[in-house]
Amino acid sequence: MMMKSHAISVLVNDQPGVLQRVSGLFGRRGFNIESITVGQSEEVGLSRMVIVTQGDDKTLEQIEKQLYKLIDVIKVVNLSSKPMVGRELALIKVKSEPAERPEIMGVVETFRAAVVDIGTNSMIVQVVGDTEKINAMIELLQPYGIRELSRTGVTAMIRGNA
C-alpha cells in the first residue's frame, strides 16, 4: 500500500456549512487532511476547495466517492493524477537585528521571495511556491529564529487546457 500525498480539487456550492460538511466527512471516515484551502471559483455561487490528503489508492477512491455523496459537492478532481501546478504562500516572521538584515535579504532574494515588512528587530518574509520550496525556505531561515509562521496550504490547478 503506497501512502502518497494527493491534491484534490472540490467544487462546492457556496453555502453556509459546506466547509463543515466536507471537513466533517474527512474526520469521521478517518481520512487525513494535510491542508485545505477554500475560496471563490470562476463561477458565481460556487467555491473551490483544494484539499491535500494522504492515502493509498483505495482510500483516495473512497474519498472521491464519499465527497460526491454530499449534495453540495459539484465536482471532484484528483489533481495529483495529472501534471499540475501546486502553490502555497507562507509568511515568515524572522528575527533580524539590523546587522543580520543583508544576509537574510540575500537568502530571500535567492528564493525569489520578498520581504514585505521590516520591524526594529524582525521582518516578514513572503514566499510563494510548491511545498518543497517553502519547506526549504523555512529551513534556511530557522537559524535566525522564526517568531511566527503562517502557511496558506496548497492551492492547485491542472496544467494546460484541461
Binding site: 456550492n13 466533517g24 483505495k58 473512497q62 449534495i71
Partner: protein, 581 residues
C-alpha cells in the same frame, strides 16, 4: 380494525386548493408543501419553536397528524411508515431537546437507507448562536447521519427546500433529510408558489447501469460452477423483487437474503438458502465461502454479513450491484462493479442471462446442505422456547403479517423462524441496531396499512425503551399486536457474556421489569400472558381475534441462545452450531 384517525380526502380534490398562489405564513407553506408531496400522515410532538406550525395544524384534517408520547417514538414511527409503504416518512419536533430526541431515529434511518423528512423548529433567527432557551445546532449535530440538511433562512426558500428534501430523501440511495425551521421563518408570510423543478447540480444518482458491465456479468454466469446471489435491502427499496425473482428463475442461482433483504425473495422457494452472516444459515455461509461467483444485489457487505473480511468468499469473483458507488469497493473489492438502481439493473440484465448450466452439481450440494442443516432448535415440553413462539406467530398468520422487531435475540429468531414471502413485510433496525425501534415502527407501519395485520416483536429490554407509545395505540385504536418475548434478561448481551466473556454476566438482569400485562392495561391496551405452549396458542389466538391493540407477553427460557453464531473475527464458515447440532 382500522385506526380511529380521520381519513384524508383524496389528493385530486385538494390539489387545486393547495396550489393557489396566496400570501401565507411559513407554517401554512409547510403544510401545503407536504400535501403536494403526497404526505398523508405525519408523526410529531409540539413545543415552543413549532408553535406556529402547530397553530396551522389546528383543525387541519387534510393529512393525519399522530401525536406520540416522545419524539423518539415519532421518528421511529415515521421510519416504520416509510419502510412499510415505500413513501417518505415525516416527523415534526420542536427545537433543542425535541430535535435531539430524534437523533437516534435519524441515525437508524440513515444506516438502513430509509427516506425520511424530519422537520425541526429552531429558535428565532436572531437568537441562533446565542445559546438561547431550547436551542441546539441540530443541523450540525445531524450532519453525519443525514443525507442532507437545511437550515431555512428565509420563508421564500421554504417551498423549494421542502421539494428538494423529498426528492433527495426518496431517490438514489434513500435516506433522512432534515429541515430546520427557525420560529420566525414559520411565522413570516410570503407569496406561496409551488411546483418548482429540481435544480441540484451536485446530485444526480446513476440509475441506469453501464451495459458493458451487464454483458460481463451475463458471461460470468455462463462460466460459473458455484454461483451465489446475496440479495439485500436495495432489492426491497428499489421495488425490484419481481425482477429478482425472474433473475433467479432464469439463472437458477441459489439466493441468500440479508437481514434487510428478507422478503425480497420468497422463503418457500427451493433456491432460497436463508440469511447469511453471523446468525445466518449453514447453507448460506458455506455457499458464500465456496462460491466461484458471488453476485451481490443491493447489499453493502456489512461486517455482520462478511465476518472476517480477509477470508470472505475467498474463491469468488465478486459482482456488486449498488445505487451508491461509494459502497462498491468499500469493504470488498468488486471484480464486476455495477452502479445503478437494482430494479433497473435487473430489468436490463434479465434478457441477457440464461440458466447457469455448469452449476448443476452445485445446486445439488446446496440443496443437500439446506436439507441437512436448516435453522433448528431443541424444543421443550416444560418451558416455552422463543423460537417456538415465532413459529407459532408464523403458522397462525401464514407469513402474511407485517412484522417489526426490536434488536437482540428475538430479532434474530424472528429473522430465522418467520417465513417472509413479500417485500416490505419485515421491518427491523439492521445497521444501527436500535433498541426501542420495533414498537413505534409497528405503529407507523399500521398507519400505512390500517387493514393489515401488524405484529411488533420485542424483547423485554427494548419494550421498555419506547413503551410510552402504548398510549397512542390505545387512544387511536391502532391495532398493533405487540409481542414481548420475555426472558427477564438482556439476552444477546447474556449470550456474548456466556460464550465469549466466560459466564461473567454483567448488568444484564432485567428482574424488576414491570408486569407487562398490567403496563398495557394501565394505558388501556389489552394485555395477555403465556408461559406454556397451550396458553401461548390460546392467548395468541385471542389477540388475533381482538380488533384493537393487544400486548401478549410470552415468558420464555432465559438461557436460550441464538445459533448458529459466527463470533467476531472469524470467517463465516466457522460457525458455532450450538444445541442446534
Amino acid at each position: 380494525m382500522s385506526a380511529h384517525i380521520p381519513e384524508v380526502q383524496s389528493t385530486e380534490q385538494l390539489r387545486e386548493k393547495w396550489m393557489k398562489p396566496e400570501v401565507i405564513s411559513g407554517s401554512e407553506i409547510l403544510l401545503r408543501s407536504l400535501l403536494l408531496e403526497g404526505v398523508e400522515c405525519v408523526f410529531g410532538y409540539p413545543g415552543g419553536a413549532v408553535l406556529y406550525i402547530y397553530d396551522a395544524l389546528y383543525g387541519f384534517t387534510d393529512f393525519k397528524h399522530l401525536l406520540t408520547r416522545h419524539e423518539q417514538g415519532a421518528i421511529h414511527a415515521a421510519d416504520g411508515y416509510a419502510r412499510a409503504s415505500g413513501k417518505v416518512g415525516v416527523c415534526i419536533a420542536t427545537s433543542g431537546p425535541g430535535a435531539t430526541n430524534t437523533v437516534t431515529g435519524i441515525a437508524t434511518a440513515f444506516m438502513d437507507s430509509v427516506p425520511l423528512v424530519v422537520i425541526t423548529g429552531n429558535v428565532v433567527s436572531s437568537l441562533i448562536g446565542t445559546d438561547a432557551f431550547q436551542e441546539a445546532d441540530i443541523t450540525g449535530i445531524t450532519m453525519p447521519i443525514t443525507k442532507h440538511s437545511y437550515l431555512v433562512r428565509n420563508v421564500e426558500d421554504l417551498p423549494r427546500i421542502i421539494h428538494e428534501a423529498f426528492h433527495i430523501a426518496n431517490t438514489g440511495r434513500k435516506g433522512p433529510v432534515l429541515i430546520d425551521i427557525p420560529k420566525d421563518v414559520s411565522a413570516n408570510k410570503t407569496l406561496f408558489e409551488p411546483g418548482q423543478s429540481i435544480k441540484l447540480r451536485g446530485y444526480n444518482p446513476t440509475v441506469v447501469p453501464n451495459r458493458l458491465q451487464l454483458d460481463k456479468l451475463a458471461a460470468a454466469i455462463q462460466e460459473a460452477e458455484r454461483p451465489v446471489i446475496i440479495a439485500g435491502g436495495g432489492v426491497v427499496y428499489s421495488g425490484g423483487h419481481e425482477e429478482l425473482f425472474e433473475f433467479v428463475t432464469r439463472t437458477e442461482i441459489p439466493v441468500t437474503t440479508t437481514l434487510l433483504g428478507l422478503g425480497a425473495f420468497p422463503s418457500g422457494n427451493e433456491l432460497w438458502m436463508g440469511m447469511p452472516g453471523m446468525h445466518g444459515t449453514y447453507t448460506s455461509n458455506q455457499a458464500i465461502q465456496q462460491a466461484d461467483l458471488l453476485i451481490n444485489i443491493g447489499a453493502r457487505f456489512d461486517d455482520r454479513v462478511t465476518g472476517k473480511l480477509n477470508g470472505f468468499a475467498p474463491l469468488a469473483k465478486i459482482v456488486h450491484i449498488d445505487i451508491d458507488p461509494a459502497e462498491i469497493g468499500k469493504n470488498v473489492k468488486a471484480d464486476i462493479p455495477i452502479v445503478g438502481d437494482v430494479k433497473t439493473v435487473l430489468e436490463m440484465l434479465n434478457p441477457l442471462v440464461g440458466r447457469s448450466n455448469k452449476a448443476d452439481a452445485w445446486r445439488t450440494k446446496v440443496s443437500q446442505w439446506k436439507q441437512d442443516k436448516p435453522w433448528k432448535y431443541i424444543d421443550s415440553d416444560t418451558e416455552l422456547k422463543p423460537q417456538w413462539v415465532i413459529e407459532l406467530l408464523n403458522d397462525t398468520t401464514s407469513g402474511e403479517a407485517i412484522v417489526t422487531t426490536d434488536v437482540g435475540q428475538h430479532q434474530m429468531w424472528a429473522a430465522q423462524y418467520y417465513r417472509f414471502n413479500q417485500p416490505r413485510s419485515w421491518i427491523t433496525s439492521g445497521g444501527l441496531g436500535t433498541m426501542g425501534f420495533g414498537f413505534p415502527a409497528a405503529i407507523g407501519a399500521q398507519m400505512a396499512y390500517p387493514e393489515r395485520l401488524v405484529i411488533s416483536i420485542n424483547g423485554d429490554g427494548g419494550m421498555q425503551m419506547c413503551a410510552q407509545e402504548l398510549a397512542i395505540c390505545a387512544i387511536n385504536n391502532i391495532p398493533v399486536k405487540i409481542v414481548v418475548i420475555n426472558n427477564q434478561v438482556l439476552g444477546m448481551v447474556r449470550q456474548w457474556q456466556e460464550l465469549i466473556y466466560e459466564n461473567r454476566y454483567s448488568h444484564i438482569d432485567l428482574a424488576g421489569s414491570p408486569d407487562f400485562v398490567k403496563l398495557a392495561e394501565a394505558y388501556g391496551v389489552k394485555g395477555l400472558r403465556a408461559s406454556n405452549k397451550e396458553d401461548a396458542k390460546q392467548v395468541w389466538q385471542e389477540a388475533l381475534d381482538t380488533p384493537g391493540p393487544v400486548l401478549v407477553e410470552f415468558v420464555v427460557r432465559k438461557e436460550e441462545n441464538v445459533y448458529p453464531m459466527v463470533t467476531q473475527g472469524s470467517t463465516i464458515d466457522q460457525m458455532l452450531m450450538g444445541d442446534s447440532e
